[in-house]
């Protein structure tokens, strides 16, 4: 009765092929490149109204990266919910690629989001060259425009795995937008938690003081920007773990707990650094969330 087994592709190779396919599908989506273009245009526009300082550049690049993050949230949700939205779940369920492998493959959209964020950041840097930023620079502050689009993609994938209906992507997008828009309501000073939780690192006196302190330590200290980047990375890891929780329990649950714990540490670490900067009576300059 038994027929000779067909040669089967090693799962790592099959996973790579699928992840690459998902990545190329995302990279060929016009909406994604529209998001990149919009991020660059807005980043350049906002920075042109600021003093040419690294802190201001980082803030505007971060805020404009939220636009790309929104596009990536929607497109990665569409990618992750493709089968469900088009009634292909039954046919796909009998294919050799397991749900876990497929979730892993769409998680490849997260680093792709980072690459797109880096491309947009590079374009913004090129556009800023006539008014090259000055002042203290934490390299970590340039990680934010890369991490924020990754976070958008991760949230989109996580939503698609748990809530694959067509409406879920836009609803999550509006939910995230509303949450970000409401954050200033809960506190507009750098000491407030909502200030620290906001994905973008703002150009205020406290942040500048934190960056200066990190620079004074020879750049070896973590500083505000580094902890904030760590906080964003923890959010990305947490969202990815939530996506995988649909298929596996233990390892993603451990990753989720560790990510949340690290995120809390990163948030807590930003508070001591955000002490009043010398002569910074008004904590805010530039755009607010």
């Amino acid at each position: 009765m038994a027929a000779p087994s067909l040669p089967s592709a090693p799962s790592a190779r099959a996973f790579r092929a699928l992840a690459w396919r998902e990545a190329t599908l995302l990279l060929t989506a016009p909406a994604v490149w529209a998001g990149v273009l919009l991020q660059v245009v807005l980043g350049v526009l906002w920075y042109s109204a600021d003093e040419p300082r690294w802190a201001a550049f980082g803030q505007e690049a971060g805020l404009s990266a939220l636009v790309l993050a929104g596009f990536l949230l929607l497109t990665s949700h569409l990618a992750g919910s493709r089968d469900h939205r088009h009634g292909a779940a039954e046919g796909s369920s009998v294919l050799p690629a397991s749900d876990l492998r497929r979730t892993g493959a769409v998680l490849a959209l997260i680093p792709v989001g980072g690459v797109l964020g880096a491309v947009a950041l590079g374009a913004e840097l090129v556009a800023a060259s006539p008014r090259w930023p000055e002042g203290p620079l934490s390299p970590w502050s340039l990680a934010m425009p890369v991490l924020i689009p990754m976070l958008g993609a991760a949230v989109g994938v996580a939503t698609s795995r748990w809530w694959p209906t067509t409406a879920a992507g836009p609803l999550t997008f509006f939910g995230c937008t509303a949450l970000l828009a409401m954050m200033p309501v809960f506190g507009q000073s750098p000491q407030s938690l909502s200030w620290v939780l906001f994905p973008v690192l703002f150009d205020d006196g406290h942040v500048q003081a934190g960056m200066a302190a990190a620079e004074a330590q020879g750049g070896g200290g973590w500083g505000v920007a580094a902890w904030h980047a760590g906080y964003l990375a923890a959010l990305v890891a947490a969202a990815a773990a939530v996506a995988v929780l649909r298929q596996r329990r233990l390892i993603p649950a451990v990753v989720l707990v560790l990510a949340v714990a690290f995120g809390l540490v990163a948030v807590w670490q930003q508070h001591p650094d955000l002490g009043p900067a010398p002569g910074a009576a008004s904590p805010v300059s530039g755009s607010q969330p």
Binding site: M1, L6, A17, H86, G87, E90, S92, V94
Partner: protein
């Protein structure tokens, strides 16, 4: 040679038993499943395709037990499945969709994958539509595309749930040619309401009713179930399961001999209707003038 074996297979949806204690062995060739709506054909094919786990019983295909996760995955590598409602991504191009499904079927070598996509496109006659988006294809073309994705990887076990829905007569002939060719070396399971397809393609036919198999034999044996019950007469009968007026003005009757009735040629449909009685007659008598 038996390739698919099921023993005591049962599947329930809440209080409804969709398939009940099914036992059968199926081998290489084309096997057709007939039955009225709700007979359990689609549930059985879903279980065979590993899309659905039976509540009890054992299902083994190509020596692989579908209850064992690793063996189920191994079986999926040898399986092509066309569901009743095949979902296709409308924004993908035809070849792009097949390439994506081929990746999901673990065809990781790019060159081999592209060749395979070209092969199945040619098999279903969609080569000239390779770069057309799925949403722009006609219903028949989409059905052929769905069949093409089932054929990817040259599966040994092909499960087709109502594959000829939406196909025009020429496309159905092409489909028959393709499936009959595959049936020489592969196990093809075909669920359909088209008795002509069963007659044209299947060496064996299983008729299902209320979750059980009520007939297992060749199409000729199924047609023979209506022996002595098919008549042609000048006048309409007074009591018959089904009758209708032919184009020549004479009445074709399935049931007791009408006055002046002469024996008519038997068809699979006659056997099927005779076997299932009034229930099937009522379900399948859209063209009939009268159903008793």
């Amino acid at each position: 040679m038996t390739t698919v074996s099921m023993r005591g297979l049962t599947k329930r949806y809440g209080g409804t038993t969709a398939i009940a204690d099914l036992t059968a062995r199926i081998g290489v060739g084309v096997t057709g499943f007939l039955g009225p709506n709700g007979a359990g054909k689609t549930t059985l094919l879903r279980c065979l395709a590993t899309a659905l786990a039976p509540d009890s019983g054992r299902l083994v295909a190509y020596g692989l037990d579908t209850a064992v996760a690793a063996e189920r995955t191994a079986l999926r590598r040898r399986l092509g499945y066309l569901p009743q409602d095949p979902g296709l991504y409308p924004n993908f191009k035809t070849a792009e969709l097949l390439d994506y499904v081929a990746v999901l079927k673990e065809l990781t070598d790019t060159g081999r994958r592209r060749a395979e996509v070209r092969r199945v496109l040619a098999e279903v006659g969609l080569t000239d539509r390779a770069t057309v988006r799925v949403r722009k294809l006609s219903g028949g073309m989409r059905q052929r595309l769905a069949l093409a994705q089932a054929l990817l990887g040259d599966p040994e076990l092909l499960i087709l749930d109502e594959p000829t829905v939406g196909l025009d007569p020429e496309q159905r002939m092409l489909f028959r040619a393709l499936v009959s060719r595959l049936g020489h070396t592969r196990t093809v399971l075909l669920s359909t309401h088209q008795t002509e397809d069963v007659g044209a393609l299947c060496e064996r036919v299983l008729v299902m009713r209320a979750g059980g198999i009520v007939f297992d034999g060749t199409p000729g044996e199924l047609a023979a179930q209506a022996e002595g019950r098919v008549w042609v007469s000048a006048e309409p009968p007074s009591d018959a399961h089904v009758y209708w007026r032919n184009a020549d003005g004479r009445y074709r009757t399935l049931g007791p001999r009408p006055i002046g009735g002469e024996p008519g040629l038997l068809s699979i449909e006659d056997g099927y209707l005779t076997l299932l009685g009034a229930e099937a007659a009522a379900a399948g008598s859209g063209d009939a003038e009268r159903v008793s």
